[in-house]
Amino acid sequence: MSVDLIFPMGKFEARIPTDRVYSSNHLWLQETANRYRAGFTSYSVRLLQDVYFLDWVIDPQSSVRERQEIGEIESSKALSTLYAPFAGIVRAFNEKLLDDPSAINTDNYGTGWLFDFETDAVPLTPEAYVALLADGWEETQRTLKGQFQ
């Protein structure tokens, strides 16, 4: 196992494994054969908290544009639309999550994966992703705070 990077969110430490790559919309992508498997980073999961519900609005094998809407997620803390990380093709969804999305919380880097994805884009390295988190942290806090008022 490679050494994980850590991004501190308040007292919480988001673990960013170095055995995979990342997208700026907080997904990890791990290369398997000719495609990537994608899932939420610990940073995303930390902000979401317990996921109750996950739904996809596109079918498997759909071509998507970068930032195209692909699904919806609801958790104890948040509601969000989900977007494609890059232009590419969504090959398959993790069917198990549709009935019970709890693996997103218990094993986000493993059995809680979201979908298989093909893309020619070049994802971020773990280091670049952590740098992006650091850059965006102030802004994220502000956005969240704004919503809490």
Partner: protein
């Protein structure tokens, strides 16, 4: 003695949602029978104009008042305040507290430091209760009972206030409580059908001569003066003549019905988040307190939604309305605050609290 009765006003839902009607009817039926409360039904608070009989009635209630409505308590409170139904905020224990996580967060007072507050607030309490927090009528009936007990302890104060400087209609109302808009409880009629089924939006009783005048749906901003600092950004921003200034130079939603239906633009511009649109789908804009469960963060931006600042959104929304009115879009050129980005900086460190609260929780 009749004077000890606490007044409960049930404000009906917009539309004809059968579940909502049913809950209203169950509560009203029980409360009308109750000896120590005086229960009336009015149309939806937000939709009543200031001279609607329902509002006139509300203004005539002298003592403590419980208002059950389909609005966040903050929205109900300030809607009433604007209509001249003023009082101190009574605390209801019936709140939406499904999410226990939130209770770990420090409960902060929403009142902003430099807020201008409400004026001419009489010494009585108004308890606003959101009918969406529970499905069971009993929960509301119990809470009314609890408040009624709490309130009768203060009857002496109330008497003093009444004796002090009663307005004629208040005294009248106090001494001879009348059932002005008393709900005719829909005894199930011959067909076992609910008569309200065929009613017009907002009207409560078909053949009753006490039928309140119908209301139509309205849309306008409501200012929370416990947050508002009188900075005047809303009046600069809105180009539709909704805002005005009263004789004490305080900001005021003057021409409510000039506001553009569905437009929440100025609420995004207000640096204090003091502008409430009670009918907006986003709880934070509709007047939810930060602590309210059901208020969820929208993380769409984080997951890649095209990012727009609140100001950009507001300007866009305003342009849409301008164009719809046959006027020219003005973009960022008119009435936009100079300080833009620091708008979002707030003294409240909710995320840290959130994160720390969550850490304690784990």
């Amino acid at each position: 003695m009749a004077g000890k009765k606490i007044t409960v006003v049930l404000s009906q839902a917009q539309g004809k949602n059968p579940q909502r009607r049913h809950l209203e009817e169950e509560i009203a039926t029980a409360l009308i029978m109750a000896p120590d409360v005086d229960c009336s039904v009015v149309p939806h608070l937000y939709d009543m104009s200031h001279d609607h009989t329902g509002m006139l009635f509300l203004r005539s209630v002298p003592g403590d008042l419980i208002v059950l409505s389909w609005l966040f308590p903050r929205a109900a409170h300030w809607t009433l305040d604007r209509a001249g139904v003023k009082g101190h905020e009574g605390e209801s224990l019936l709140r939406d507290d499904e999410s226990d996580n939130e209770s770990d967060l420090p409960q902060e007072d929403d009142t902003s430091l430099d807020s201008i507050g409400a004026l001419d607030v009489p010494n009585r309490k108004i308890y606003c209760i959101d009918l969406r927090v529970d499905d069971s009528p009993q929960a509301f009936i119990n809470e009314v009972r609890r408040i009624s007990d709490e309130s009768s302890i203060q009857t002496v104060d109330l008497m003093q206030w009444i004796n002090g400087n009663p307005k004629k209609d208040q005294l009248e109302r106090y001494l001879h409580p009348q059932q002005l808009l008393q709900l005719e409880v829909p005894r199930s009629n011959e067909n076992g059908q609910n008569r309200n089924g065929q009613e017009e939006d907002g009207a409560s009783n078909g053949d009753s001569s006490h039928q309140p005048e119908p209301t139509k749906r309205r849309w306008y901003p409501v200012i929370d003066y416990d947050r508002c600092t009188n900075c005047m950004e809303c009046i600069d921003f809105c180009l539709f003549g909704v805002y005005g200034i009263d004789h004490r130079e305080r900001i005021l939603v003057e021409q409510q019905d000039n506001c553009k239906k569905g437009c929440p633009a100025c609420s995004r511009v207000c640096p204090e988040n003091a502008i409430i649109f009670p009918g907006h789908k986003t709880p934070a804009i509709a007047g939810a307190d930060g602590e309210v469960a059901g208020l969820k963060i929208d993380l769409s931006k984080l997951f890649g939604a095209p990012s727009k600042s609140a100001l950009e959104l507001a300007v866009e929304e305003r342009d849409v309305e301008l164009v719809r009115d046959g006027r020219d879009a003005v973009g960022m050129e008119v009435g936009v605050p100079k300080r833009q980005t620091e708008t979002v900086a707030t003294p409240r460190d909710a995320l840290d609290d959130l994160m720390d609260g969550l850490d304690d929780f784990e």
